[in-house]
Symmetry: C2
């Protein structure tokens, strides 16, 4: 597996106060790499989360959904190499046993331990390995860094992905650090994507949940690699409160704005990194739609463009085939008027008012498309609705990775 | 361009009485092949049609939509190599001029001449070439066969696609012959697909329209290659009445059932042929969904499976990755219960009631997936709704064809 040409270096991240990490090899596959992660949080840590909208979720997802309303977290267990999805009662029991063992080791209630698994669907999590793995990770608590954690939760990822931001809240410098895994089966409403955000800020769970939900809509739910949505997608945010700011408990609390901006920056960076590790990706594509009837319609049109295999293969080939963009607008099902539609690549107007612009010169567009950071602007000319989504091109690499992934 | 491994031989088709075909080279690209087709119909020919739901259609599509309610046809003009879509007022004027010239040559009203163009989007149809092409095709009327027509309307097609069926209507043997072009940008609600059906039966236009609309829903609108929908898709059916049966004018008219069955068979065969020429296809996939809340829900789930890049790449790799089928069911958005879901490949039960079947043996499934005719059955276990759709696998060939199509 070669590293994505769109990769970014792992950022410098100091440990987040109140968070201890341990990793171990449970051997979910025939490998010696760490595949089991246990994270321990100080007492008082709050939690928020967003999970896949899949109607066939894993038991881990169901467990998170059931316990997020409690708002309290002391532990997180992550398995890599086995998603434990669609594994019936046996898979659910194994996951439950692993969570209960983690709770016993951490000295907390099971409802304070969150869980996520990623990997092949349909193979029950082997309970003996899961229990041994979490015990070994517990024995190593405090020894692993965020980079170690990122490597331990990865599957087909070609590089470790993390982001960090700081904010000053009530005079105290707080840290927000996030990691993410995922490079395929990426689509709105979560993907085979696990994202974990850790902060030392003190923030009440309901406010954290409210912020995370709205931020997800414009970050993790605004990316797509292949339009497929996994059964296991989960984004969890943990706030230890170790920075000892006064607990943020309302959107207008002093410092809440700064925290929100930093959280949004981390989530947006993480979402972009997932696209940058899109399976087979060679180009990072930002699709901006303006002039739609409303923001919702703009996002539907933007995703229709971003999910179109013909648009994505054209970009892969460096082909300024804006006709395929017209096609994708036309099929989106939202109001469109061919004769008001304008399209630009890399800021160069290509089509306006239903036809190619007079004297269109393809040269600057071709130069833009030869690069690896692509911008597509579409103006529907109808209203004020706008949206931005991100995707990558569709290449031979995607086929190679997915035509024989399981073997 | 190598011929699709899923190709079928061109069938034996006698000419359809009342239909005369001429082809010519207008030179829409730098080639010498026929790219312009004129079809002349005897007086009294009725017509029905279904066009793309794209909101950015070509002027040819708009012309057909406007004139189909008239129900009368004397001519059909088809251009290949230039779709004339998104070409503004200039493209619309060129198409109109070509239609009017065809009407003058055929001695009929312009509203009795139908039009379709296929090829690159966004390049205005060159009016001088279009007029010269249709004049040359008119001079050759009667010289071309259905095979010639099929070759003249093709673009990235790797083999000519046609189907024929007969029915006995009121003691008279009638013929229904259809041709189709299209191998990419194929999705429900039409694709870059042009389908033309010719029959010598006598049938009133409203009844023909009613039959074609409902048949399209279970044939042309039940196939998908890449989920993309073109701006130009058109299926037209022309009935010359030369067989001199009493005009069919109601669903319960004598012989209407037999005609409907034959029309349905032709449309289904044509739809399957489009999938068999899917860009890069190496496997023909039938997806059957049963046990849904209703037929509509079943079709949504079936298309979610058939459009999933991860399912399609797994099939390409011969990988019995039924977990990806679970994923596609889960993301479809229709009611699903993980613990009632059953999945079979090639008639072999793989998963039932939310988990892999006890003692699952992958060998017979692997054998089935090594073939080129794949069957996927999904039972949602909820109700009586069912649907069948057809697609192909997603391979390196698709990427190669589409990453540099325009050049």
């Amino acid at each position: 597996m070669t590293v994505s040409p769109l990769a970014r270096p792992f950022p410098e991240i100091a440990a987040v106060a109140g968070v201890r990490i341990g990793t171990a090899c449970a051997g979910y596959k025939a490998w010696t790499r760490a595949d089991t992660t246990l994270v321990a949080f100080d007492a008082g840590t709050t939690v928020a989360g967003v999970t896949t909208r899949s109607l066939c979720p894993s038991p881990e997802v169901e467990w998170c959904r059931a316990n997020l309303p409690g708002g309290a977290a002391r532990g997180l267990v992550v398995n890599s190499g086995n998603s434990n999805a669609f594994t019936g009662a046996g898979g659910a029991a194994a996951s439950r046993a692993q969570v209960e063992q983690a709770a016993a080791l951490l000295g907390c209630g099971a409802h304070e331990v969150f869980a996520a698994s990623t990997g092949v669907i349909g193979v029950p999590l082997p309970q003996d390995k899961a229990l041994a793995g979490v015990a070994a990770a517990n024995a190593a608590l405090g020894e692993a860094s965020l980079l170690d954690l990122t490597n331990a939760i990865g599957t087909t990822d070609t590089f470790p992905k993390a982001a960090v931001a700081h904010a000053v809240v009530q005079g105290r410098r707080i840290t927000i650090a996030g990691v993410v895994k995922g490079s395929g089966m990426i689509a709105p409403d979560m993907a085979t994507m696990l994202g974990f955000v850790f902060t030392d800020a003190a923030i009440a769970a309901p406010l954290l949940q409210q912020m995370l939900r709205s931020i997800c809509d414009e970050t993790f739910n605004a990316i797509t690699v292949d339009s497929d949505t996994s059964t296991s997608d989960t984004v969890l945010a943990f706030a230890t409160g170790a920075a000892r700011n006064e607990v943020l408990d309302a959107p207008d609390a002093p410092g809440a704005d700064a925290f929100h901006a930093a959280l949004r920056a981390v989530c947006r960076d993480l979402a972009h990194l997932v696209v940058r590790d899109g399976e087979g990706a060679t180009k990072f594509i930002e699709v901006r739609v303006a002039g739609a009837a409303d923001d919702r319609a703009a996002k539907v049109v933007a995703l229709s463009i971003a999910n179109s295999p013909l648009v994505k293969t054209a970009i892969a080939g460096g082909d300024a085939n804006w006709g395929r963009v017209v096609m994708a607008v036309g099929k989106a099902g939202e109001v469109a008027d061919r004769d008001r539609l304008s399209i630009a690549f890399g800021g160069v107007q290509v089509a306006a008012h239903g036809a190619v612009v007079p004297g269109y010169d393809e040269a600057p567009v071709a130069t833009h498309l030869a690069g690896s950071e692509i911008e597509i602007d579409v103006d529907l000319g109808l209203g004020d609705g706008r949206a931005t989504v991100w995707t990558c091109d569709l290449t031979h690499g995607y086929i190679s990775i997915n035509a024989d992934y399981r073997s």
